[in-house]
């Protein structure tokens, strides 16, 4: 079963920390863009493909009207073989939705909604350049519940300007009280070329040491409230892990539609250029292969390490041979003494402390695997 990702690269305005692809919302443009998406759904090679997740990401997908979403989902249902119990998610900015829109989303088939709440502290939200305040976010989540959304997720950001340990745990506490099943908690990374890429913001944000402590405390806090960590940045109540996002980490197939969308399909990774105009004018989206060919041996380590379920020892042996697999286990046992990792009969999984340094661990494991 594959996943389908729809990229909606339109926003009311750009957030100052964001470097994902998006342009300012323009309704004419958006309509043509949806036409182009639907055109692409009908591409020969995707005909009859079975899918069990659909994910509207952005940008700000919630700039779409209920009707627009419906047009897209209908297009998908016409071309793909969508499972009855498919997980269909939309990302939403709290200030872009009202009761009617949420209801129409439900009616268009959306059954999971992910709100970019980020913080329960209004001064932090302002510093982040967000358009909503916490009360607005709380209201949006409640409305979603009212119209029948059972599976609601919220984003929290760590290490944002003016945030400290106390305010983070306050936000987490408030958000945990909402009727939600899932939380994504991302550490702010100041990207080159964004408005946040300046000394003033840097000196106003927590350093690596503090952010690390915040991450560990937050994880403990969320676990204690029934949100179990299942990936570096994701926490869920039992059974509510994001099936779509899990596909990324499990190395399963997904097809991306839209400008700047990425795909892993038929053991190939490819992406679409970040250009809305071009997307609209092209008969079919041009799919550019990633520089490096798909290599399960490399990706297995790189992606699986992110998951709480971790690396399966048996799979390590199959992919890298007995010797390398044993060496990896040995290395992970030394990590275990430092509290970075857990090694049991069947698998190796990182602890929250280990997740924090997962890049280095991945690099070392790749080294042991002899991946150049």
């Amino acid at each position: 079963m594959t996943g389908i990702y729809i990229h909606i690269p339109f926003c009311l305005r750009k957030c100052p920390y964001c470097d994902f692809y998006s342009v300012r919302i323009d309704n004419g443009l958006l309509e043509s863009y949806i036409d182009a998406l639907c055109r692409n759904f009908r591409a020969e090679k995707y005909r009859g493909v079975k899918a069990d997740t659909i994910y509207f990401g952005g940008g700000t997908p919630s700039v779409l009207t209920g009707g627009q979403v419906k047009r897209i989902t209908q297009g998908l249902y016409e071309s793909f073989d969508i499972a009855d119990d498919a997980e269909i998610t939309i990302e939403a900015n709290p200030c872009t939705v009202d009761r009617d829109k949420l209801l129409q989303y439900r009616q268009a088939g959306i059954n999971r909604i992910s709100f970019g709440v980020q913080s329960a502290d209004d001064s932090e939200l302002k510093a982040l350049g967000r358009l909503h305040d916490y009360e607005g976010a709380r209201r949006a989540v409640t409305l979603a519940q009212d119209v029948g959304f059972d599976n609601i997720s919220c984003d929290i950001m760590l290490g944002t300007p003016e945030q400290n340990m106390v305010s983070l745990l306050y936000s987490a506490g408030k958000i945990c009280e909402l009727p939600i099943k899932h939380i994504s908690a991302y550490m702010l990374k100041i990207e080159k070329g964004t408005a946040f890429d300046c000394e003033e913001v840097r000196k106003n944000t927590a350093d690596d040491e503090l952010v690390s402590d915040m991450y560990l405390s937050l994880t403990e806090h969320l676990n204690g409230r029934g949100f179990e960590q299942y990936e570096i940045s994701n926490y869920a109540r039992a059974g509510y892990e994001s099936r779509h996002n899990l596909k990324y980490w499990l190395g399963q197939e997904y097809i991306g539609f839209g400008a700047a969308a990425h795909s892993l399909f038929d053991k190939k990774r490819y992406y679409v250029e970040r250009d809305v105009q071009k997307y609209i004018s092209a008969p079919l989206q041009e799919e550019i292969p990633e520089e490096e060919a798909y290599d399960e041996r490399q990706e297995y380590i790189m992606l699986r390490v992110r998951l709480k379920s971790g690396l399966e020892k048996q799979r390590l042996k199959e992919l890298y041979g007995d010797l390398a697999a044993e060496e990896m286990v040995r290395f992970c046992r030394t990590l275990e003494t430092g509290g970075l990792c857990r090694v049991d009969e069947k698998k190796i999984s990182l602890t929250p402390k280990g997740f924090l340094v997962s890049n280095s661990i991945i690099a070392r494991l790749c080294d042991i695997a002899g991946l150049s």
């Binding site: 990374k189 700047a260 030394t334 924090l356 890049n359 690099a363």
Partner: protein, 603 residues
């Protein structure tokens, strides 16, 4: 000059401190004698290695024959023998001097006499050379020729008041220098009828001709096809080509005779057979005794040289082989380090020689190197009565087996403006120096005389001296011999394991400070790792200093948005690139810079 007449030959060299204008003067002389057409002149022709030109020093001796029509209407043959200006090459200098009858002493009109100038001038006087002082750079506004002439008279004790005042840069009064060479430097006085006897003052390897030996003929004569004997090694060769060194090419001639300077080729394969200072004679008609002063060159400073990338070991070996073809004083043998893998233990004449070789390996052979701390040769007397010479800390005997230890000392002269005396004394004190005396060179400059352990100056003495005197002090030293010393071997441990490449031998009183500094330096240069890494210094298993490289806290990519894993891949690739410059020591990754950071401890 076609005919042969010893009285019209002048063999001389130029002595000068770095930057005082030796090479520029040599260029002007070449120009004036029309040995090189102006348009062919590349600046500073005699120094033809890149490093020499950049550093303004001459590494290897070279010689050139020049024809000069003097004011007296006669034609003269000049043999200008260039000498290395640095103490590391003292022996080479002495052999070059032995090939001459005179020396032109170039002194900068504003800087005055420097330590090396004095050392080499004394060496020239010892060899009975006529010293012709010349004051250079008189075109500079800061020139004080009178003061410098007086300094030469006072310090060296040779008449200098009428020394030519020149500007090698502008070409002013260069002819005066040549005229002075004719009047002041004696002609050679060898006996052309005696058996052939010549001094090797340099040799180079040529791909086609084999070793080319540069000789000064003392007595007799030699022709191509005759069999020569190198007296120190006893090796015999049939000569292939005889000639002299033109400004641009080697010029073959039929015969070289007493008093002349030239070259001999004889299909010699190994430069080691042709030792500088050795005497060449004819195998069938040998001279009765070799020329005095021959010494086998001995390495004074040793260091482990490793390729940063282990796979480049064969390249390093090839490069050393090639350098050794032209440098008989470079010695090397394979060495293995648990930390650094396969490499070579290299022996050098001194610090500069070491730096030059390392630089040439990196620059000319494109190698990335890791070098270990330089070591001198220690003499260790064992309890069983044996004495061993140790040039590698790894071979230092267990303390329980050592009865006593000795280290090499040098006697050093530091010439400096008086204002820096305090700083220098402090430095020499830190380096365990014994103050001998201090002499005033003039009103403002002094000659500080110290005895220093060689092991203390092979570290970063030059750099420290320069930084404490704003570059104004100059320094010269010569070996004095061994003295008993309290030595210990200091080990460095990373994560509890000794890193052999970081061990060194040090005086017991300085071990603690050195250990502290090295552990601090390593801590600064080892990036945070997945674990906390203790960095320790120990003597005989006893920890004397400890630092900790803290564990890394955060190295994570939180978000891979919309299944875009390219960012993640790129990050990993960058990490891998970084890793290439790292050495994996057990569980610790150590960057190349960490190894290098312990070599320069004086800030």
């Amino acid at each position: 000059m076609n005919g042969y007449d010893q009285s019209n030959i002048r063999n001389f060299c130029i002595i000068a401190h770095i930057d005082h204008g030796k090479s520029t003067l040599a260029d002007r002389i070449l120009e004036l004698t029309s040995s090189v057409e102006l348009r062919e002149m590349e600046d500073q022709l005699l120094d033809n290695m890149d490093i020499e030109r950049e550093r303004g020093i001459t590494i290897k001796a070279r010689a050139v024959r020049l024809n000069y029509k003097a004011d007296d209407g006669q034609d003269y043959v000049f043999n200008l023998i260039d000498t290395p200006g640095h103490v590391d090459f003292n022996y080479e200098v002495s052999r070059s001097l032995a090939a001459c009858e005179g020396a032109v002493l170039v002194v900068d009109a504003s800087q005055g006499i420097e330590a090396q100038t004095l050392g080499n001038t004394y060496l020239a006087i010892e060899h009975d050379l006529e010293v012709v002082p010349v004051i250079n750079k008189i075109d500079l506004p800061s020139a004080e020729p009178e003061r410098v002439c007086a300094e030469i008279e006072n310090v060296i004790g040779i008449p200098a008041l009428d020394a030519p005042r020149i500007s090698a840069k502008t070409g002013l009064n260069i002819k005066d220098v040549l005229e002075r060479v004719i009047t002041d430097v004696p002609a050679p006085s060898g006996d052309p009828e005696k058996p052939f006897k010549a001094l090797i003052f340099d040799s180079v390897y040529d791909m086609y001709k084999g070793v080319i030996i540069y000789v000064r003929v003392m007595d007799g004569s030699i022709k191509a096809g005759q069999t020569i004997k190198l007296m120190a090694t006893g090796a015999e060769f049939q000569t292939v080509e005889i000639g002299y060194m033109g400004a641009k090419d080697l010029v073959p001639v039929g015969e070289l005779k007493a008093g002349e300077v030239g070259y001999i080729t004889a299909s010699i394969k190994y430069i080691g057979d042709t030792r500088v200072g050795d005497t060449v004679t004819r195998a069938d008609m040998p001279c009765d005794e070799a020329l005095p002063g021959y010494k086998k060159v001995q390495s004074m400073v040793f260091s482990g040289v490793y390729p940063a990338d282990g796979a480049k070991y064969p390249d390093l070996r090839d490069a050393l082989d090639k350098l050794a073809l032209n440098d008989a004083s470079l010695s090397f043998e394979p060495e293995t380090s648990a930390a650094l893998g396969f490499g070579f233990r290299c022996g050098f004449l001194g610090l500069l020689h070491m730096e030059i070789i390392q630089e040439r390996l990196e620059r000319e052979y494109n190698l990335d190197l890791i070098t270990t701390a330089p070591s001198v040769i220690y003499k260790v007397n064992l309890t069983n009565g044996e004495t061993v010479m140790i040039d590698n800390p790894s071979n230092y005997p267990d303390p329980s087996l050592i009865a006593s230890a000795e280290e090499p000392m040098v006697t050093a002269h530091i010439f400096t403006p008086q204002v820096y005396v305090g700083n220098i004394m402090e430095l020499c004190q830190e380096r365990r120096g014994n103050y001998i005396d201090m002499k005033y060179l003039d009103d403002t400059r002094v000659d500080l005389h110290y005895e220093l352990p060689l092991g203390e100056i092979v570290y970063d003495f030059f750099d420290a001296l320069k930084s404490r005197t704003k570059g104004y002090a100059s320094f010269d030293y010569e070996m004095k011999g061994y003295v008993p010393s309290k030595l210990v071997k200091l080990d460095i441990l990373l994560n509890g394991e000794v890193v052999d490449a970081l061990s060194f031998i040090v005086h017991a009183d300085k071990a603690y400070a050195r250990g502290r500094k090295i552990t601090e330096r390593l801590k600064e240069n080892i990036p945070r790792q997945l674990f906390e890494i203790p960095v320790q210094a120990s003597i005989g298993g006893k920890i004397i200093a400890r630092e900790t490289v803290k564990a890394m806290r955060k190295d994570v990519l939180a978000k891979c948005y919309g299944g875009d894993i390219t960012r993640k891949k790129k990050l990993l690739e960058k990490q891998k690139e970084g890793k290439k410059r790292m050495r994996q020591l057990g569980t610790v990754e150590v960057p190349q810079e960490a190894f290098m950071s312990v070599l320069k401890l004086d800030e």
